[in-house]
Chain length 331, copies 2
């Protein structure tokens, strides 16, 4: 029996050999990893430098992904392909040329905002949504040109609708769930999800407890019901996984994600002053080795083999195949 | 008749379509271009961004060189391959990881110093030569590992001898002449040139008037005599061209080269307070279109076709072929 192609559309763990081994034992052939939240250009290069060391140290386990063919190779060699992504546009600072330069360094996915207003668009925590800015419009065109996928996971609704309309290539919401399942600020309305699907884009389902009905007590059955309902809405070709797994990270990293350098007062993001810490993990998804539980849950729910493979990785692979190269004349 | 492979081992002109057309009409298949003198990391990325635009705007004339095969391709397609190089180590700042990151962005040659003491070695204008520093040693090993060629054109003698000894792969002096021809601080002793040749390295002959006997009045015959004398010393396989052509640059650029940000008082480098400007150019080498004059001069001097081709580009091509890839086990 051939191994299923499985791809996780977002992780930000404290990287270690153990974490990479969990990815492999869970059957993942590729993972989209976050390499910057609030880092500016120079700091991001430092993060890429650290990844170059990880690639050298663990070359039996992981390899960089620059094209979808690299994911195929990782799959064949029983390795985990690593796809670089930014959760914010801070690394490109105010410089459009940095889109291509980071693409040259392997970055293939970039969020236009992380919760707050950015130079490009509004984040999902802003009270007012200004849509895509002037700089945002030319950055979208540049990302389209070089083959860097636009990710609107942490963006506000109108900004997201505009990004879908402006982008000439499919975009993603790499890690979020439908608002109908759990009305978190980070989850997405049916309006957004339908526009995303119609434009050929992809939603990665989040396993971060704040995005789930019942939080850390959400059952596998409840999660799989949500998947089924979303497939009914968006179609089987436009959904995937985006676990948002953040393993072994200290509280300081959560605070960095939420606060960066932008506020002197602690912002608790999806948490609160009385619930400031990392959420408890799901019993059926503690780390990447538990992906087979989700496969079993989807099978249980009645998805056939082809459908399960699309949800678990096939759709992400197709998106990477069409999204990571330079724009062709037909796009 | 097939076109001769011609490579210029250093230029820093104000880049324009006209300059690229002169390169092509002079028969060059590749040029090592300087993309940083005193720029730090972030500024260097800006320079790479500017080059990415030039590549897009002039893709009928120029193309980036990441491997020697790219030079072959440029030669076949009648384009000019562009090899990125740093004249200083300022772009890597204090971070060894930036060697690999800039290699990923196409940088293939780096000088360890530019006239002054650097974090890696001593420059040729320093009164004391401390040799290769602790950081310098590990950077040399890292450059060897990734395939970035060490260039000691602006370095002091002892530093250069140590770099030749420490490097496991051949190094270059991309643009300088022998001191026996003209005793400029930037020119090199027979001791250095012999060690360079014995280690498989390469000297690129400079056409910058300050490095020539008679300055701007140096004749083609005198230049070709120097080439012949140097070939007698180093052998025919270890010399090439490195014109140091700086075309259409304002005085402010010369002052940036000489002064960077390191002194409040003007340093005149190879010039002086009464001779502060760019030198007058040679009558027989005003720009890249004049390379055929040098071919003719070498033929006149009695070099045969094979020898002329080695000097004009064959030796540079061989060095690029062995030097630009990752280090093999045999190196």
């Amino acid at each position: 029996m051939t191994k299923m192609m499985m791809i996780d559309g977002l992780q930000y763990s404290q990287w270690s050999r153990e974490v990479f081994e969990q990815m492999r034992s869970g059957g993942l052939s590729a993972v989209h990893v976050t390499i910057a939240y609030h880092e500016m250009c120079r700091e991001t290069l430092q993060n890429i430098g650290a990844w170059n060391r990880l690639f050298a140290q663990h070359d039996d386990l992981i390899m960089p992904v620059h094209t979808a063919a690299d994911i195929d190779m990782a799959h064949q060699q029983n390795k985990v392909g690593i796809i670089f992504g930014f959760q914010n546009c801070s690394p490109i600072e105010d410089d459009i040329d940095l889109v291509e330069i980071f693409h040259q360094l392997g970055v293939r996915i970039m969020q236009l905002t992380y919760n707050n207003q950015s130079l490009l668009a509004s984040g999902c925590y802003e009270p007012n949504d200004a849509g895509i800015s002037r700089f945002g419009k030319v950055v979208i065109a540049e990302m389209n040109r070089v083959g860097m996928v636009i990710d609107m996971s942490h963006s506000a609704e109108e900004s997201t609708m505009q990004a879908i309309a402006l982008s000439q290539r499919p975009i993603v919401i790499s890690h979020a769930n439908p608002s109908f399942f759990e009305p978190a600020k980070r989850n997405k309305s049916n309006r957004v999800l339908l526009a995303l699907a119609e434009s050929g884009g992809l939603l990665g389902f989040s396993l971060y407890p704040f995005h789930l009905q019942g939080g850390p007590d959400c059952t596998l059955d409840s999660f799989c019901n949500m998947v089924a309902d979303t497939v009914d809405l968006m179609g089987i070709d436009h959904v995937g996984m985006g676990s948002d797994l953040c393993l072994n990270q200290p509280l300081s990293v959560l605070e960095w994600m939420r606060n960066g350098r932008w506020s002197k007062q602690m912002d608790y993001g999806e948490g609160s002053a009385t619930n400031a810490a990392w959420p408890k993990s799901l019993s059926w998804f503690e780390n990447s080795a538990d992906f087979p539980n989700i496969v079993a849950g989807l099978q249980q729910k009645g998805f056939n083999a082809t459908e399960v493979e699309k949800i678990m990785g096939g759709n992400w692979l197709a998106l990477c195949r069409s999204g990571f190269g330079p724009q062709s004349g037909q796009d």
